[in-house]
């Protein structure tokens, strides 16, 4: 399409335009023109034409949404058609190409006829060059412009997100500064993610209401989506009506978190690799906790059964309460709470044993912070709704810089993430299996509180972290577990975003070995159902499983190892 890739004003090639848009400031000097030319030549030598064109398409100016410049075909597709680029029709794509020459002159909302004429010219060119068939041409030509209405001025379609932005600003700036003109605020909101989150929540809540027939008011919910590496909040849904400007459940509704706190208990255990690995047997027998002045605490399991000795990773995957309570009180409640603080929870928590099982009220945003630290290998990055604040002239004010803090050592962070992948692969979150490709390797945790008043799912992929809460505002029992309600919302939301697989950067001191799940000992390929399990260096089990004994290890030796393992197991 010559009209798209040809020369425009000033005789720049596409490559030069790219250089201008991307690398340099918009001043016009001769020297700059030369630099531009040189960079363009270098760029063309180094990168293929296709890459350059692609980058160009991602940077090109295609219109103006009030103060916001629309750069790139991706944003333009959203702005004009409300859809993703890959879903554009031939006619719609041609309209974007038509606008390259002058987004204001050919603005399809303001100059529809002019835009239509030019779009049809582009279609004609495309047909002449053989990019589209005659039939495609005729069909596309007959199509209307198909532009969606522009959102109203003065109101934001995302009141919950804007509320958080205002709050973060008010924390850092005087009201006076905010009222006086001059600051330009760039937020991290990603409309595509926000729309996916709103849609997933609304659709599922409507479905639960129909199934429950409790009558109004219906179930409520909230969602937080963030980038685990940068800590940027990409979406915030405060309830089933996302346009409602009231109570912000995602930020202000602190609800009991239930099992969402369990990963912290196991993380704390895994910080002592000499004592705890992912395969260490944990006792899920009946457990009673006595403390003076308080009734005995006897946590029950969700299935009302006790499971005896289970590997540590299974206790987390199946969310066993008795095993977790015993493990947490063995390690020490204070130690676990110390980790909760390190992970980013600032509100004070009561040092009770029941806290271990989530008798703690947190907002979805706080939960997101806690999981962000685990999701990024132990590096806490404060969650931010604001990307940058600049003066009217565009001078950046360095207030919202990316900050990281190594809160947890890389090895235990890696191990707990692997354990949370087990929750999805073989535990309480297996429901996600049918919703997303298995290679996404999601890590996450379900949470359900007493009488199923609160249902949670918190989890992450390679590029996104999301926390979903579902329940009733009046605290009615929803009779839906986290796996049955919050998890499907999470799954729908992520499926719409096609997340990147979670590939953990393996710390130096982690080794992965084959383990026989029955014995918890070293396995080899001849062991049926052997699993690859990561260990902190030096904590790998020494013994070989019976199925692996032909590896030159005598049966006697295996028996010896097994005996010492059993001794350790029951001697505790």
């Amino acid at each position: 399409m010559r009209s798209a890739t040809g020369r425009t004003e000033g005789g720049s090639t596409i490559t030069q335009q790219l250089v201008k848009n991307f690398f340099l400031t918009p001043e016009r000097t001769l020297r700059r023109k030369f630099t531009e030319l040189v960079m363009a030549v270098l760029l063309e030598m180094h990168y293929g034409k296709e890459e350059i064109l692609e980058t160009y398409l991602n940077e090109i100016y295609l219109g103006q949404d009030r103060d916001r410049a629309i750069h790139g075909v991706g944003l333009a597709a959203q702005f004009y058609f409300g859809k993703e680029v890959r879903h554009l029709s031939i006619a719609e794509s041609a309209l974007l190409v038509a606008m390259v020459k002058g987004p204001a002159v050919y603005d399809p909302r303001r100059h529809a006829t002019r835009a239509l004429d030019r779009r049809n010219l582009v279609l004609h060119e495309a047909k002449e060059q053989g990019s589209i068939t005659l039939e495609q041409y005729s069909l596309a030509r007959a199509m209307p412009l198909g532009v969606v209405p522009k959102p109203e001025t003065g109101t934001t379609p995302y009141p919950a997100f804007v509320q958080l932005v205002q709050r973060q600003l008010r924390r850092d700036y005087d009201d006076k500064d905010l009222r006086s003109e001059g600051l330009r605020i760039f937020t991290a909101l990603d409309p595509r993610v926000q729309n996916a989150a709103e849609h997933a929540l609304a659709t599922r809540l409507a479905q639960f209401d129909r199934e429950k027939r409790f009558g109004p008011p219906g179930m409520e919910g909230s969602v937080v989506v963030a980038d685990p590496q940068s800590g940027e909040i990409q979406a915030l849904v405060s309830g089933r009506d996302p346009r409602y400007r009231g109570f912000n459940r995602a930020v202000d509704a602190a609800r009991p978190v239930g099992s969402l706190l369990k990963p912290v208990v196991y993380l704390t255990a895994l910080q002592e690799p000499a004592k705890y690995t992912l395969v260490t047997p944990i006792d899920d027998g009946p457990f009673v906790w006595k403390s003076r002045g308080a009734p005995d605490w006897e946590p029950q399991n969700y299935d009302k059964k006790f499971h005896g000795m289970v590997p540590l990773r299974t206790a987390l995957a199946q969310s066993y309460n008795a095993a977790t309570a015993r493990l947490g009180t063995d390690i020490g409640v204070e130690k676990v709470l110390d980790n909760v603080r390190r992970l980013g929870i600032e509100r004070p928590l009561k040092p009770f044993a029941s806290t271990l099982l989530g008798a703690v009220e947190l907002s979805p945003l706080e939960v997101a912070q806690m999981y962000q630290t685990m999701a990024s290998g132990g590096f806490k990055t404060p969650l931010r709704a604001i990307r940058e604040v600049t003066t009217q002239e565009g001078k950046p004010l360095a207030r919202y810089a990316l900050r990281v803090e190594q809160a947890i050592a890389p090895e235990p962070a890696y191990l707990i993430t692997a354990a949370m992948q087990g929750v999805v692969r073989e535990g309480t979150a297996q429901g996600l299996k049918g919703m997303l490709p298995p290679e996404t390797n999601i890590a996450g945790k379900t949470g359900t509180t007493d009488d199923q008043r609160d249902a949670w799912f918190a989890g992450f992929t390679g590029d996104r972290l999301a926390v979903v809460w579902v329940g009733y505002d009046d605290n009615r029992a929803a009779r839906l577990s986290g796996a049955a309600s919050a998890l499907p919302v999470w799954g729908d939301l992520m499926a719409a975003l096609q997340p990147e697989p979670l590939e953990l950067a393996k710390p130096e001191n982690i080794e992965t070995v084959l383990i026989d799940p029955q014995s918890g000992l070293r396995a080899d390929m001849s062991c049926p159902g052997a699993l690859e399990i990561p260990f902190a260096a030096g904590s790998t089990p020494a013994g070989r499983a019976p199925c692996a004994s032909e590896l030159g290890v005598t049966v006697q030796e295996v028996k010896q190892k097994a005996k010492s393992w059993l001794d350790r197991l029951f001697g505790r």
Binding site: L42, F379, Q406, A505
Partner: protein
Amino acid sequence: MKRYLLILLLAGCASRAPEPEPSAPPPPPPIPETPLARESVAIAGLMESARNDAAAGRLVQAAGSLERALRIEPRNPRLWHELAKVRLRQGDAAQAANLAARSNSFAGSDAALRSANQNIIEQARTVR
């Protein structure tokens, strides 16, 4: 004619020209299209402007470019390393050390980068 001469002259001066030396063996065949390869134009550009800004003492701008690049490639250990260097120059030793550690977490077997990060961590310690 004059213009081409200038291009060659300027190209010769560009210190970080991605063009291989004439005497060097022919470059390996281009890597097949991966998302990484496609992003690299943007990353290279942002790295370059960050280096220029840093060299000229515009540290806030340099950090801004690096943060932008990190949004595209959050697992690129070089970007975390460069940001650590900028923070160290800004006198934020604690952040420098944390960012260098973050770089290490993605550095894999890149020994040179690891030792450069270690260097920053130690410098940060003496500053504090």
